[in-house]
Symmetry: C2
Subunit: 199 residues, 2 copies
């Protein structure tokens, strides 16, 4: 029924998480009918981001530079490395104003059901990063979900034998909860009460 | 906190209806981290649709050609013109298999709160289309919402004095309901029971 360029747009919008056929159609109509300049900006922004965005070689978060600003900052303590699942979680940690070390962003978690194991998560790169000789403590700030816990256990087992201190943020984060939805105070306390991980 | 190309993408995604800051961020991360080929297709599809899609000069729906296939079909009855709010509503009418005439797609409705009056809706173009000398009956199939009703009343007042027959699909469509969510049977009945509009 639709012209093919419109059907292609509707189909392409479905690659966005949480967008089904009905809302993809609504979005396409909206873009073409009510917001062509917004659509132009969207098309340009997607293309530009695909070209410009890569992963920081040190912390693995999204970055336009080879090494991101935070990793290059002389004001951060390079002897502490906080491991988080996503860039959002890293921002949550920053907002506590309680952390001055560096980060490693997993960009995911171990999730056997989704086919994501230690290899797919690239934990060998975290290993290399944590064993640079400068890092003395690795703080595991993965979520307190089943998958986040499994990821923390795996990283602990991987790093403990190498003589690096491994701690876990305290279970102030509600069980089953995700860092993204926790208030800063709770998270700051969880950070203060972090405890050594038993290998 | 984010690289600027990423922030631009997040901001651009917010032009999509129903997408707030959190889901825009989630979508951007998803595209860059998990579905770069989907992102590429999305960027291309937006650009291509913006170039290829215009409005049919006769029925006003989305079209790649100046005049769409349906308007050119010799099998449709050109003496009946059904006025609908959106392309989705037109598709709903088609699915009843009860209508053989042509369409005019308003691409909206009169909505004072949104600043959409008769002028913004381009009702002058509908007027020209309905008064082509071939159209004998205009069937108003706008929604039975307050705005759809107001639109139908306005079009009736506009066309009746010109001697064109104006009918309204029956109120088989639930009051306050939208065509998009009505089953084909109900809509077919509403079409059969259409009645003449009092000017
Ligand atoms: Zn970095
Ligand atoms: Zn047409």
């Amino acid at each position: 029924m639709n012209p093919s360029a419109l059907d292609s747009l509707i189909e392409a919008l479905r690659c966005l998480p949480g967008v089904g056929p009905k809302s993809a159609q609504r979005m396409a109509y909206h873009l073409l009918q009510r917001d062509r300049s917004g659509a132009q900006r969207l098309g340009d922004a997607v293309q530009h981001a695909l070209q410009a965005i890569r992963h920081c070689q040190r912390c693995n978060t999204f970055s336009e530079a080879e090494v991101c600003e935070r990793c290059l900052s002389p004001r951060r303590d390079p002897s502490v490395l906080c491991v988080v699942e996503t860039p959002v979680d890293m921002n949550m940690m920053e907002q506590t104003l309680s952390y001055q070390g560096l980060y490693y962003v997993l960009m995911g978690r171990i999730s056997p059901l989704d086919g994501v194991g230690p290899r797919e998560l690239g934990l060998d790169r975290l290993m290399a990063r944590a064993l640079d000789g400068v890092v003395k403590e690795v703080i595991l700030a993965t979520n307190y979900t089943n998958e986040g816990e499994a990821t923390a256990h795996y990283i602990t087992a991987m790093l403990k034998p190498k003589g690096v201190g491994v701690t876990r943020i305290a279970r102030g984060v509600p069980v089953g909860g995700e860092l993204e939805y926790v208030d800063s105070g709770t998270l700051a306390q969880a950070l203060r009460e972090r405890k050594s991980c038993s290998g």
